[in-house]
C-alpha cells in the first residue's frame, strides 16, 4: 500500500477535523419498539462515559447517562409526557434491572417515541464527574428486561454495505480504492487507472473535506458524492462514505444514476 502513502497522509490530516465531538446522527424505526431497540444498541456501542441526547422529531427530548455499555440514569431535565411522572427518574442511578424505575423508563421512552419515527441522537462527554463505574445496567440485560432483543432485524454493517456496493457496481466502476480510517485497504479495476487514483483521490478529498459542511449541512449516516463530466462518455469521480469506511471510485459517467441507485438501495435512502 506504499503507493498510496500520500493519500493516506492526507487522509490522516483531514480526518482530524472531519468528525467533531458531539456531532449528531439519527435513529430510525418504524415503531416505538424498534426505536427502543435502536437505543439499546446505542447503549451497547457506548464504551466511554457519555451523555446521550435523543430528540424526537416534533416531540420530547431525553438525556441518558451511559458508560461501559451500561445505562446509568435518565438525566435531568426529565421529559414532560402525558400521564407519566418521570421526575423521580431524573439523575437517579440505575443498577437493579428489576427496579420499577427501569420499567418506568421503558414506558417513558415508548411514550416519547409514540409520535415520531425519526430521533436525532447526540453524544457528549458528561458535564460533571458522572456516575461511579459500577452504576448501570448492561445493554444485554436491559434488552432482556425491556423485551427488545429481537425487535429489530440485524442490519448489515457499514463494512458489509460498502463491500456489497463495490461488488454490485463492478461492471460500472473503472477503478476504485477502499479506505478505512486513514488506510487504503483495497483496490480494484484497471491497474494503470488504480495507480493514478491515489493522487486523484488526494486532490478530490482536499476539496471535499474543505467543503463538507456546505455539501452535507445535516448529519447523515452515509453520503455519496458524484462529480461527472459534461459528456456521458467519460469517467466520473465518486466518493462514498458510510461509518468509518469509504471508497473513491472512477465510474462510467453515463451510468452515474444507476450506480447511485445501488447506493440508495443499500443504504436505505
Amino acid at each position: 500500500m506504499s503507493d498510496f502513502a500520500r493519500l493516506e497522509d492526507k487522509l490522516a490530516k483531514l480526518r482530524q477535523r472531519e468528525r467533531i465531538a458531539g456531532e449528531g446522527r439519527r435513529l430510525r424505526g418504524a415503531t416505538p419498539e424498534a426505536l427502543l431497540a435502536a437505543i439499546v444498541t446505542e447503549i451497547d456501542e457506548t464504551i466511554l462515559p457519555r451523555r446521550l441526547t435523543f430528540a424526537v422529531e416534533d416531540g420530547p427530548t431525553l438525556h441518558l447517562a451511559v458508560a461501559s455499555r451500561k445505562l446509568q440514569a435518565l438525566l435531568s431535565p426529565s421529559p414532560v409526557l402525558n400521564g407519566l411522572d418521570t421526575s423521580s427518574l431524573a439523575d437517579a442511578p440505575l443498577s437493579d434491572p428489576d427496579d420499577a424505575a427501569v420499567a418506568l423508563l421503558r414506558d417513558t421512552l415508548l411514550a416519547a417515541f409514540a409520535g415520531g419515527q425519526t430521533v436525532a441522537i447526540r453524544s457528549a462527554r458528561p458535564a460533571g464527574a458522572g456516575f461511579a463505574s459500577d452504576v448501570g445496567i448492561p445493554a444485554n440485560i436491559l434488552g432482556r428486561v425491556w423485551d427488545v432483543e429481537t425487535a429489530e432485524p440485524v442490519l448489515p454493517s457499514a463494512d458489509e454495505v460498502l463491500t456489497r456496493f463495490l461488488s454490485e457496481i463492478a461492471d460500472d466502476a473503472m477503478g476504485w480504492l477502499r479506505i478505512e480510517g486513514e488506510d487504503v485497504t483495497g483496490q480494484g479495476g484497471d491497474a494503470a487507472l488504480v495507480e493514478a487514483l491515489g493522487e486523484q483521490a488526494a486532490m478530490f478529498l482536499d476539496g471535499y473535506f474543505g467543503k463538507f459542511e456546505a455539501l452535507y449541512p445535516e448529519p447523515s449516516d452515509s453520503c455519496a458524492t458524484l462529480i461527472g463530466p459534461m459528456a456521458d462518455t467519460g469517467a466520473a469521480a465518486l466518493f462514498v462514505e458510510i461509518g468509518e469506511v469509504s471508497a473513491f471510485i472512477a465510474a462510467k459517467a453515463g451510468r452515474a444514476p444507476e450506480i447511485l441507485s445501488v447506493w440508495q438501495r443499500l443504504t436505505g435512502a
Binding site: M203, G207, T233, A253
Partner: protein, 129 residues
C-alpha cells in the same frame, strides 16, 4: 412557455422532487424556482453557492483530474449528493453559458429520471424554445 412554467412542468414529472431552481453559476444567483413550499432567500443562496462549489469550485476542481469526457473538457457537468435526508442534483447547461439546474429531491428519488428530464428542460431553456 416561460422558464418558470418549464420548471413547474419539470417538477411535476419527477415524483419526490421538492425544488427545482435555475441558477447563474457566475453570480451565484438563483434566477427562477419551482417548489412545493416557497423557499427562503437564505436557502436559495445556500443552494446557488453549493451549485458553484460542486460544478465550478473546490469540489469540482478536486475532481477535475478524474473527469474525462474524451474531448479534453474537464468541466464538471453533473454533480449528485445523496445523503439520508435528500438527494441533490446539479446539471450544468450545455455550451459555455454559466447556468445550471438545481434539484432537491427525496433521498430515494429516481436519479436517472431527474437527469434525463433535467437535461431535456435545460436544453430547451438555453435554446430559448
Amino acid at each position: 412557455m416561460d422558464v418558470t412554467d418549464k420548471l413547474d412542468a419539470l417538477r411535476s414529472e419527477l415524483p419526490g422532487c421538492l425544488l427545482v431552481a435555475f441558477t447563474d453559476l457566475g453570480s451565484k444567483l438563483v434566477l427562477c424556482t419551482s417548489s412545493a413550499a416557497k423557499p427562503g432567500q437564505e436557502e436559495l443562496d445556500r443552494l446557488s453557492e453549493l451549485a458553484q462549489v460542486a460544478l465550478d469550485g473546490a469540489v469540482a476542481e478536486g475532481a477535475a483530474p478524474a473527469l474525462e469526457d474524451g474531448e479534453g473538457d474537464r468541466r464538471a457537468g453533473t454533480a449528485m449528493l445523496v445523503s439520508d435526508h435528500d438527494a441533490k442534483v446539479f446539471l450544468r447547461a450545455p455550451g459555455q453559458v454559466a447556468e445550471a439546474l438545481i434539484f432537491v429531491c427525496a433521498p430515494d428519488t429516481d436519479l436517472r429520471k431527474v437527469v434525463d428530464c433535467g437535461r431535456s428542460t435545460l436544453n430547451d431553456i438555453v435554446a430559448g424554445t
